[in-house]
Symmetry: C2
Subunit: 274 residues, 2 copies
DNA sequence: TTGCTCCTCACGTCACGTGAGGTGGC
DNA sequence: TTGCTCCTCACGTCACGTGAGGTGGC
């Protein structure tokens, strides 16, 4: 018979753990003194304690350990539990590895730039969207070429919507399509989400943008002629994380006060694992 | 101004999370209605929310995120925190990988034997031990060769201790040393821990067993002529986990009642990472 | 008898999820 | 006015660590 402290020392666990395992019925002392409440253990119980520790070290919860130990589990069920655990472990290892890549990337940015990256890229799904839109074309994807095309296009879209008495159900969104045309590299779409089914009106077309299961997104604050670094951050993120672009990049104009320096835009680029 | 639900939807977080971040001062709403208590957010706050999510996704705690965001951290400190995180991540990845190997090993055993492995191997440090001992030699490390040597040796040790009036401070322990001798492959040591400093008495020698930072251990229950599978389990464990033996294997006789079938023995083999 | 170990509460941890019970806003 | 969303508690989660305050055993 061993007093709890001796048994704990031998089993390399804390006294508190043994009390806890007693409390949840996982490992009951061989004897409990009715008077003092002292717990007494036998060394033969070390086998069970070791099994508990071993299973716990595999990452099972104490509930699961109890199941594995006491519930007369069939070899098949046991097999199933272990396979599940294996899958979980592979998953967490993958997640942590991705995190590690991210942390290392940030370390590099700090080493080269001396501060935190200005743009935080996060992944989220994009819902499907029904929009009405106008299109135009631009020579390239740089702000200098895009700006003079987008501004009037959006203004025109606003006027058409007012005329057509269509009400937007969300913020103005532009998306950009690569063109096959030689002299106009990009087709610019200025769109606004709508509800229900509306027909085309002249060159005001209704389009269903597909949902994206994952998109790399970031928020840009300020004038649109300064948006490039934010897009570059997304491009770099996609590169570091071994994703590829999987759709048209979008700019969502979340807040557009008078002063353009106070604009808030969300940049979204659908991605797929590489 | 956005109501909490809309802001949450846009930021891909739960309403509860936003309330929580408000409660701990991590992300305060742009405005709170004094009357209704409604929280109102601005889209420009999305940048901060995204930064919070991004840092959280790297595995930082909310306390750490708050530090990183608000405490004007220098580039150096930032660098330090990220390096620490990187090290932690490498650590958990290593741990989980080891777990995965273990789980896969158990899966294999179950597939071939149809049940859980009978012996759970756990790693623990071994303390340094001062013992008095007698030695003898045996032809091999199999129970058939060891048994006939160990039994009388232990009995003899017991008699010598009684005569010398030495009191043991722990259980009888045998350890096994490979011999250079051709005809006696193993030197068997029968030892008993003692306290303080005692001198040698004839062939009763005092020896200091070194501490082992890590040892693979398991518990054997039953007669010693059935101990082989337990030792094999340890050997296999050492193999699967890419360790190597780093000292003399020991048998600690934890419980030795009359009936040898009720004996409890702990097997210990010092190991080092490979 | 003095320490030493044991005992039983019971709070704290971490980042929210999940009701309960109630009220403001369109 | 009816829903819908919002609000504030407050418990639960997981496996113990860490006191507080008190008592048995050698």
């Amino acid at each position: 018979m061993f007093i709890i402290g001796d048994f704990a020392r031998h089993g390399q666990v804390s006294v508190r753990m043994l009390r806890h395992y007693d409390a949840i019925g996982l490992l009951t002392p061989a004897r409990i003194d009715a008077n003092s409440g002292y717990r007494y253990y036998e060394m033969s119980q070390l086998a069970r304690l070791n099994r508990i520790i071993a299973l716990k070290d595999l990452g099972f919860s104490l509930d699961q350990v109890a199941e594995l130990l006491d519930e007369q589990i069939s070899a098949d069920q046991l097999h199933g539990m272990l396979r599940l655990r294996s899958a979980q472990l592979q998953d967490t290892i993958a997640t942590d590895s991705a995190r590690l890549v991210q942390v290392e990337a940030r370390l590099q940015i700090i080493e080269s730039e001396g501060h935190m990256p200005a743009h935080d890229v996060i992944v989220k799904p994009l819902p499907a969207l029904r929009v009405v839109e106008l299109t135009a074309s631009a020579a390239s994807f740089t702000p200098e070429d895009i700006g003079p095309v987008v501004k009037p296009l959006c203004a025109e879209l606003g006027r058409r919507l007012a005329t057509a008495q269509v009400t937007a159900t969300g913020p103005l969104t532009c998306y950009y399509e690569k063109s096959e045309d030689a002299d106009s590299a990009v087709i610019v779409h200025a769109a606004v989400p709508i509800a229900g089914s509306v027909g085309d009106t002249g060159d005001l077309r209704v389009v269903d943008l597909p949902a994206a299961p994952a998109a790399a997104t970031t928020v840009h604050r300020g004038r649109m002629d300064r948006v490039l670094p934010a897009w570059q951050a997304i491009a770099q993120w996609i590169d570091t994380n071994a994703y590829t672009s999987a759709g048209y990049p979008r700019e969502v104009y979340l807040e557009v006060p008078e002063d353009e320096a106070a604009w808030v835009t969300e940049l979204q680029e659908p991605v797929a694992a590489n």
